[in-house]
């Protein structure tokens, strides 16, 4: 087999691409024993070999197009999901990003060894160039793995943010004409917008006269949060409902005063129960014990 002659044809990346194609099986076998693949595909070695082959094919594609330093090269697209999944699996077992990067870098060694075997004289310029190209494409692979892992993380965060928005703002009907929103967690602009919208919708649907904003679950109130609260109160008032802010803990009351936030126009109560009592009282509803009459009897 006149490998050197074959290897000598074309530019360095193309030679490396040819090398990947010819030695696909061998590279895959060696990589399957590397810590990265061994620790992800714990069940069967064949599975690891298959995964390695997919990566080798991708690298072969990328080197054939000559875009060995481009992490956006189309060749990588086919293995992106697989690489992301592998990185996620490693991350779940407690690996840091640096460790994962090192494990990907460790794949270079076996591949370079195999490439050197293709050249009878490793000191020729061709051999150097090919090793260099291989090294470059392997570093690009490392970058692709890191980039994919980061993108997956960002996607996850975005999904969870959406779920938080949906979950955290229920509007509860407490009584005929009285609705309440228990606010939990920090109020930012996006969340207060959702709270405001759902509260106003509920005021229309329930024909509510009183709306209670309970901030027991809000850890801190700063001037921004207070501003969001005031906006919600003002919007509810424009709809013809009176807003009551309840659940102001002593520490928060002190903070509000120290920050000089003026909640003077807003009706405030210490607890949700007090707020409900206020709303009922204003509607002329009286709640009394059922046994009050019985004891008199």
């Amino acid at each position: 087999m006149d490998v050197p002659e074959q290897a000598a044809a074309g530019s360095a990346p193309q030679r490396v691409s040819g090398f990947f194609e010819r030695r696909r099986e061998q590279i895959a076998q060696r990589w399957a024993d590397a810590p990265l693949f061994r620790s992800v595909f714990t069940v069967s070695r064949d599975e690891a070999v298959e995964a390695c082959k997919a990566v080798v094919d991708a690298l072969s594609d990328v080197t054939a197009t000559g875009r060995i330093e481009d992490i956006g090269a189309p060749g990588f697209a086919t293995v992106r999901r697989q690489l992301g999944g592998m990185a996620a699996t490693r991350a779940r077992t407690g690996c840091t990003s640096a460790q994962i990067a090192d494990e990907v870098a460790a794949l270079r060694g076996p591949a370079v060894e195999l490439l050197r075997e293709e050249f009878p004289d490793p000191s020729t310029a061709d051999a150097h160039e090919s090793v260099l190209a291989l090294t470059l494409v392997m570093s690009t692979l490392r970058l692709v793995v890191m980039e994919t892992a980061l993108t997956e993380g960002a996607d996850l965060i975005e999904r969870q943010r959406q779920q938080l928005l949906e979950v955290a703002t229920p509007v509860i009907k407490l009584w005929e004409g009285t609705v309440a929103v228990p606010l939990i967690g920090t109020l930012d602009s996006a969340r207060s917008q959702v709270v405001m919208e759902s509260l106003l919708e509920a005021i229309v649907d329930q024909r509510a006269r009183y709306a209670i904003l309970d901030i027991t679950g809000v850890p801190t109130v700063d001037s921004l949060v207070a501003q969001h609260l005031m906006k919600t109160v003002a919007a509810a008032r424009l709809m013809g409902a009176e807003c009551i802010v309840s659940g102001i803990r002593p520490a928060i009351a002190q903070t509000i005063v120290q920050l000089g936030i003026d909640l003077g126009t807003v009706v405030t109560r210490a607890s949700l129960a007090d707020a409900l009592a206020y709303a009922l009282g204003r509607q002329g509803i009286e709640v009394s014990r059922a046994d009050a009459g019985a004891s008199a009897r």
Partner: protein, 125 residues
């Protein structure tokens, strides 16, 4: 007096007992809003009106001008001893007004015309 919008129809003002009911619908351009302000003031002054209900449930956009006109109608009516209630604001309109910083502090609001009439009834007063 020159009429800037000669073709603009007047906003109908209904008298229900001693309450005036104004229903605004669709887009209300500035000329119409000013015309309404004048009409209402004259009506309140001419008859013994104790309350004005402005129903804006059919209005999709309240800009700063209309917001100011509504506030002015309320203060003018107040001077003439009539109370004004703004009824039926849509959630989207309320959010926009608040974002614009127009919280209309002097205005009494109600969920719908029914509630507004309740507010103006002698029992509530």
């Amino acid at each position: 007096m020159s009429q800037p919008f000669p073709a603009s129809p007047q906003v109908p003002v209904l008298a229900l007992g001693d309450i005036l009911l104004v229903t605004l619908q669709g887009e209300l351009h500035d000329g119409m809003a000013e015309q309404l302000q004048q009409d209402l003031t004259h009506r309140i002054a001419a008859s013994s009106v104790t309350g004005v209900v402005i129903d804006i449930s059919g209005v999709e956009i309240v800009d700063s001008f209309l917001g100011r006109v509504l506030a002015e109608i309320a203060s003018t009516a107040g001077l003439l001893a009539a109370r004004t209630v703004l009824a039926g604001m849509r959630p989207a309109v309320a959010i926009t007004l608040v974002e614009l910083g127009l919280t209309l502090p002097g205005l009494v609001t109600a969920l719908d015309v029914d509630r507004a009439m309740e507010l103006l009834s002698p029992r509530e007063a």
